[in-house]
Subunit: 321 residues, 2 copies
């Protein structure tokens, strides 16, 4: 059995190859470029961990891990086009370096390549794996569309935001774990516990991400604090503030969002503090984390085999294990 | 057994439904929009014809026909973004009507939906069908990339153009026929004959398309004659002229391409005539058509069953049958 860190290294070594044909290099060079930028490879490692929960890792799990990582990179390329993002992981995004048309096509061909990896697994699991992969892929697209829709709206409810963030970020984590479990011959019950573990953990991670943007230590967080506030992003914090602020605060908040005054971050943070957004978000994160861990507890497998998934939760929640 | 026309109507009736979930309508509305624009549905009907060559049409052939038509529309949405095309079939393109980001995502989710149809077929054919579909999808992306690459080059050889056009337009026709044949239980030999029939017919069609742009009757062709010349498109005709023009004509041709003078079409046509591009293109088209028909002849099935495919060739070649 391998730890989370060992599996991450193992996957990285296997994945660190040329994934595409030589020609046309104008298409496959840009596709390979984003894979070479690296990344944490959390999702494909989830496939391996979901699989390892039940037995030694099956070779099919590596195919699906590849498919998941290629799918994730396909979505990054296309999201970066839509978001007009110039940089990713400290390097130029694909469309910035190679143009939007090539980036669009490189994403397309990466998605096709993901399906080619899926097609390598043994027949008995193929239909179920394809079905879950397709549903997940569609959900991720839906999440991205909702995220764009919300940008053009003044008000987004907590339920709507939760739904969007679940589609956009959590279902892929959840599906990765479940795909590994399917290949490991898990029962339906265990498959679903793992899916719920992943989905709830993903939401807890997103709450934390929103939280750290406002309340994080800038030295540790690695991003400019208050970036979401400056960009008027709807986050868990902002939506909670909207839903709990007193009328006068609500007016002030709307005014702050409309006008980008110099002390905007400071003023919004004051409202966040008045609305106790801090403790609310911490409680929300813990609620989802506990739900995730409960599903892991309830999975009917040897406790010792759950260790890597607990390590994953610790890693994502930045807790010392 | 059904004729080509009957199969076209049959497919259109079955395909003329809502293909996507209700929500989010901001994503699935635009995806449905392009399907509602109609089209000749040649490729999905090829799946049905390839299948019908061997037996009554299997229900799986309809699933694959759906997948092929969704794939085709995915590629149209994305190509229109890349080409910055404002109109398709007399209506606004998806990105013109709904914005580029939504069009990009609508294309993505349409491709995923295509795979969901593939996943409905019976297990014994799934891996082979997926493999051919994936290879074809990647080839179409490669063709589109090469087409864009060629726009930025002064010289493209006939071999390079033939390779690009085969990937961009012929392999999908060829694969559609072969997919139908696979589902019909065809032998490898017959599968390959059908593939070759489709690929050669597709090339003949493309030669004709390039030919008609320059030499066609504007009343019948429905497009402005000389459009490719005005747009400096590398076509079979232009490349042949480049490869056979005398030095003085070559200089003139290059000059005409550089400067968009008022009598450009007329002058280029003069060079085309001097280089006998007209009869050369007709001969080239016929060569590919004959090769296509030879492969159909050589398919080991009842002659009467080949009739719809001969009707397809007649239809695409605009011959009275």
């Amino acid at each position: 059995m391998h730890t989370f860190i060992q599996l991450s290294k193992l996957f990285e070594e296997k994945f660190n190859i040329r994934h595409f044909s030589d020609q046309p290099e104008t298409l496959y060079g840009p596709a390979q470029y984003i894979l070479n930028l690296g990344g944490k490879r959390i999702r494909p490692v989830c496939v391996l961990m979901g699989n390892q929960l039940f037995d030694e890792i099956d070779n099919d799990a590596y195919y699906i891990a590849n498919a998941i990582e290629l799918f994730h990179n396909f979505s990054l390329i296309h999201d970066d086009i839509m978001d007009k993002a110039p940089m990713r992981r400290g390097m130029q995004t694909v469309h910035t370096k190679y143009g939007e048309s090539t980036a669009l096509l490189a994403g397309d061909v990466m998605l096709v390549k993901a399906y080619e990896h899926i097609n390598k697994i043994k027949l008995p699991h193929l239909q179920k794996v394809l079905s879950l992969f397709n549903n997940t892929a569609a959900a991720v697209c839906e999440g991205q569309q909702l995220d764009m829709d919300f940008e053009n709206r003044d008000i987004v409810s907590m339920d709507e935001y939760m739904h969007m963030i679940t589609l956009k970020t959590s279902v892929l984590l959840a599906a990765s774990l479940k795909l590994g479990a399917i290949l490991g011959g898990a029962s339906e019950g265990n498959q679903n516990h793992l899916y719920e573990f992943g989905e709830n953990l993903g939401i807890a991670f997103q709450v934390q991400d929103d939280y750290l943007d406002a309340f994080g230590n800038p030295d540790k967080f690695g991003k400019k604090v208050g970036g979401d506030i400056l960009a008027n992003k709807k986050t868990f914090l902002m939506i909670h503030a909207f839903e709990t602020a007193k009328p006068a605060q609500l007016c002030e908040l709307k005014e702050l969002i409309k006008n980008n005054q110099a002390d905007k971050v400071e003023k919004v943070m004051q409202i966040f503090n008045d609305c106790k957004v801090d403790s609310w978000a911490t409680a929300l994160k813990n609620k989802y984390l506990q739900t995730a861990l409960k599903h892991l507890d309830d999975s009917a497998v040897l406790s010792v085999r759950k260790k890597p998934l607990q390590q994953l939760a610790d890693y994502l929640m930045m807790r010392e294990s």
